[in-house]
Symmetry: C2
Amino acid sequence: VSRGETIGLGPGGEFDAIRRMVDGWGARAQGIGDDAAVLQAIGDSSLVVSTDTSVEGVHFRREWLSPQEIGYRATAAALSDLAAMGAKPVGLLSVIALPEHWLKELDEIAVGIGEAASLCETPIIGGDLSRASELSITITVIGTASRPLLRSGARPGDLVYVTGSLGGPFAALRDFEAGREPSSEHRARFATPTPRIREAQWLSANGASAAIDISDGLAADARHIAAASGVCVQIDAGSVPIVPGITAAEAVRSGEEYELLITAPEELDANEFERLFSVAITRIGRVLEGNPTVELTLGGETLQAQEGYLHFQNERR
Amino acid sequence: VSRGETIGLGPGGEFDAIRRMVDGWGARAQGIGDDAAVLQAIGDSSLVVSTDTSVEGVHFRREWLSPQEIGYRATAAALSDLAAMGAKPVGLLSVIALPEHWLKELDEIAVGIGEAASLCETPIIGGDLSRASELSITITVIGTASRPLLRSGARPGDLVYVTGSLGGPFAALRDFEAGREPSSEHRARFATPTPRIREAQWLSANGASAAIDISDGLAADARHIAAASGVCVQIDAGSVPIVPGITAAEAVRSGEEYELLITAPEELDANEFERLFSVAITRIGRVLEGNPTVELTLGGETLQAQEGYLHFQNERR
């Protein structure tokens, strides 16, 4: 008996579609079929919750991504917010609103959502489905953390780190917008980013003081940490690892990276980190007392941190 | 210092709009400004989570409701799912996607969201804001329950109850669709429904075996209980309390009521319920062994439970 047949919904087209999605999700879908999901008690941990929406024409274009990638990417973006908090996911809810002409792609979208859920070992515990005049996917993620990593935890004297290499989504968007197919490396960084869930838990356990996931661009997200912590964040753009075909000045403006920007009072063990997660962690700056701003330098010169960054969502505005 | 100024977001139009919304929500907004919300540990209770989306032209029309009512109604609909589980809300997240021409109404929409949150004593703990080509509001609600009320709990021999009076939203939609202004009573039942949060907690504590909120219509939602519990639900439509100007056959098809349909093994104290909550609870049927269907009768005759119910969302499909 498939799970879809066992969840006890009445007849109707919407319920058929939900049943089909739940069938596809298999064991990743848990406790669906009631008005709300029920999670077991979580003991002494804090509960961490976030919601993130992806809208066609605002966050992505249909020509750029397969339906499966659209589902994956929307879900990975939401899960990345849990990573930014050092939280362990315990469940996600997916809301899909879509027009008639997207209906035949619904199953593929659901496959992508399921892939991201699998990657982060997160059960899908609920959702909603609605008609709309454009496709949008809203993912709510729930996690637990014994010591959540906040944006407000950076202190003068802390070191600043970034995971991975930046610039891939910038390069992919530049090519997409110019009507060119991006390189497979750039495209993959845009289409199928990896939420740094396990990495963030290690960082939280190893003394990180603040974290944010890079969704608006390194410079812009560093400003969020500076504002929340009331500190000056100094970053040497020249030390930021970048993907091929991108300059450092471009990489710090690249949004939707879903890498982590971290502060820590002590040096982190970069070798151990890379050995465990096969991804680099690189020291790129430090935290100073002063106005809550970002000082971004490249080869000793000041970069304009306030300048616009390339971010499809914001390009559309 | 307003909360909006204290939440530590960087500069930018989206962040300004979020700050404004958070200011308007005042103390009802909690812990906003990080990647995810952090809730305190919840001890031994189960966590109950649900998400619900309202799309312009699908769930409501702009001509029918004020922006404040649109925000209120979307939030009340989501909170009603917690009521259906007998859960106590602990937080909600609101995602608003909207086109340029809705921007000037955003603050009013937020007021409506805040009103529903206040009514149900629920902090707003996060959300997202995006451009879109049509207005949609997605509300995720989180609650706790020591004994969640499931759809699957109905047993042969149970009695069936409904809260309040049905038919208001049906009458309001009928008038709206015909271009007439509904009566104020009908309009209020459609525009500003009350989630039965406290009522549901009383029902859970007083032995209710299953519950669902009436969003698809009494007959359709009874089928969900029948399917989930594997029982036959027998309902006498003639005993269902209805608003003036509506027939019993119409009332059982009226969707988006957000009243509760409950089963209970023993008689509930209707007088005590009405005294506590100023709303009626009425016995309307019973649960039998048999095929998981609904037997709906009116004056001894069988009503076609399978027939379409009036529900704006489904009318559009």
